[in-house]
């Protein structure tokens, strides 16, 4: 008896420990949604490269931030097709990227039920490059010059001209397509550039000394790329949960990129095509430019990716004024900051 009782005490303790562990495991697996592994389908709106909204996903995946959140993310790229804009509306992907102005246009003009949930570019992606030797020192000097545009003259360009008492009638507008060589060849005096990459192409690859004018510097409200989901997606509570996890992981990756952009590029390179070998200096230029444009007093006060109704109202008004929108946009429906607020709470 004695011997048995001496043995039974530790056995009972072990049995109790096992039972407690089993109970905790059961609670972890079934009783608490917070630890359930969720999946998210993400499509970057372009080819793999170091745009900040893409880098945030690459870093979050590479450094395990998604895993920390119990999230598995299927990372896709739309390439040059623009397919992400339709795929998200068809429910084939959950979240994607789009410039804020395009979100507003497709909502107003086609009724696309897009909802912005995080804003990266606190100012726009467009700039207007001139050769330094052209003698142009301000948009006021655009008068009488050949000015390029890429298919559509941006509303922000009209607004920037208006800030200098000019209109497009004061210059010769030329449809230039997508090749900055037209500026080097001086076929135009002003060439519209995507800020994150083309200035680097012009200066580093084409050895030009340039100045880039941005509408935001002349008081024109502009915004860059957002993460967006659909209204239908947000109707599901589970989707809201995974969105929150996604934003928490990408916001963490965003902050990591701010602290250590070189390490962020290292993570990014793992998602870039190996052939041709990526131009790391160019990728770094893209990331640095977008990091710079993604930080403002607003984000410093509230957290990365922050946005306000006022920002989008101002942008909408510019788009309306210059005819880019067929009608006003219901911004209450187009913006949802609740998940981001939960992230930064």
């Amino acid at each position: 008896m004695f011997a048995v009782s001496r043995l039974s005490r530790p056995l009972v303790l072990i049995a109790m420990l096992i039972a407690a562990s089993a109970a905790m495991l059961a609670a972890a697996c079934g009783g608490d949604d917070a630890d359930e592994i969720l999946t998210m389908r993400y499509s970057a709106g372009f080819v793999p490269q170091a745009n900040l909204p893409f880098v945030a996903v690459y870093v979050a995946e590479d450094r395990g931030y998604f895993a920390d959140e119990g999230l598995e993310v299927d990372i896709q790229h739309a390439g040059f097709t623009g397919s992400h804009k339709s795929l998200i509306l068809a429910g084939e992907i959950d979240i994607t990227t789009l410039p804020a102005s395009e979100l507003l246009q497709t909502r107003a003009n086609a009724g696309a039920p897009y909802v912005a949930v995080m804003l990266f570019g606190q100012r726009g992606d467009f700039g207007y490059a001139v050769l330094n030797k052209s003698g142009i020192s301000s948009p006021a000097d655009f008068a009488g010059r050949n000015v390029g545009f890429k298919g559509i003259v941006q509303s922000e360009f009209h607004a920037m001209l208006a800030a200098h008492s000019l209109t497009t009638d004061d210059m010769t507008m030329i449809d230039v397509g997508f090749n900055p060589v037209v500026l080097v060849e001086e076929q135009v005096d002003v060439y519209p550039v995507f800020l994150s990459n083309e200035p680097d192409t012009l200066t580093r690859n084409l050895n030009q000394e340039i100045t880039v004018f941005e509408a935001a510097d002349y008081g024109v409200p502009t915004l860059g790329v957002v993460y967006l989901v659909t209204e239908e997606f947000l109707e599901d509570e589970t989707n809201r949960e995974k969105l929150e996890r996604f934003l928490r992981a990408t916001a963490r990756a965003f902050e990591f990129a701010l602290d250590d952009p070189a390490a962020a590029i290292e993570s990014t390179v793992k998602f870039l095509p190996e052939d041709p070998a990526p131009d790391l200096a160019h990728e770094r230029f893209i990331l640095d430019t977008e990091l710079n444009n993604a930080v403002s007093d607003l984000t410093r006060a509230n957290g990365v990716g922050w946005f306000t109704m006022q920002q989008f109202r101002a942008l909408t008004d510019v788009l309306l004024e210059y005819g880019a929108l067929d009608q006003d946009v219901d911004l209450e429906a187009a913006l949802d900051r609740s998940a981001l607020e939960a992230v930064h709470r």
């Binding site: 339709s86 497709t106 397509g177 997508f178 037209v182």
Partner: protein
Amino acid sequence: MFSNPVRRLDSVDAPFGAEGAGQRERLAPVALPSWRPLAAWVVPPLVALIILAVAVEIWVRAGGVSVWVMPRPSSVLEVFVSDFGLYFSEGLLTVAVSLAGLAVGTAAATLLAAGVAHSQLLERAVLPIAIMVKVTPVVALIPLFIIWLGHSIEPKIAIAALITYFPVLINAIAGFRDVDARMHDFFRSVDASTWEIFRYLRLPAAVPYLFASLKISVTLSLIGAVVAEFFLSGQGGLGALIWIEQNNLRLDRVFAAVLMLTLIGVTLSTAVVAAERVFSWRLDQPSAGA
């Protein structure tokens, strides 16, 4: 001067059977080709198109297909009718680019083929380059064409021409060479010059080949024009419209533009067929080659 070998042929008892133009003159006058009733041409494809549209409409409605993936044909038709003026005027811009490109491409290819048909050396020199240009993705060239040719209609015409030239070149070479050897020998025997052989023997022989290639090239030229308009979308045209509306996700308008493009394609193809019939009829007439 040997101005009309066909007539010269008539003056001898041509030994070439039914192929001899001299015999043709002795046949009863050839009547104009009997045109089928218009309905026989229009109704079958129209019915097929309607059936296709109804099938898609049912699929989209019953299958709950998202309008962001496939618009309802009824919506497309509604947009097409209500904005017909827009699609028509943009279509005219595209047709202008397309036909100009087709003209340039066909003329260049025909001239080159004429040279190649006469010279194997030229063929060996030129044909690999022609194939090299053919296999170059035209999309890769558009930005360069814009720099080389300017920012107006010229690069678009060049792209349309580049896409159309190859079928014409290959067919025209085959056509220029598809001459009866005995007839060729006869032309030589009567001291016909190279130009006369070309004008009265090779060119008529190539006509059916040229029309066959034109049936392909006329639609290719439309594709070339539309692709070029994607890149120069500020200048209008159906390609620009499709690009802009695609960006705006207004797929019903994208398909309405495609519908106009289809109508233009059918019209141009039909025009080529009609031209071929008229031309063939003229060639069949006794005065052919006069």
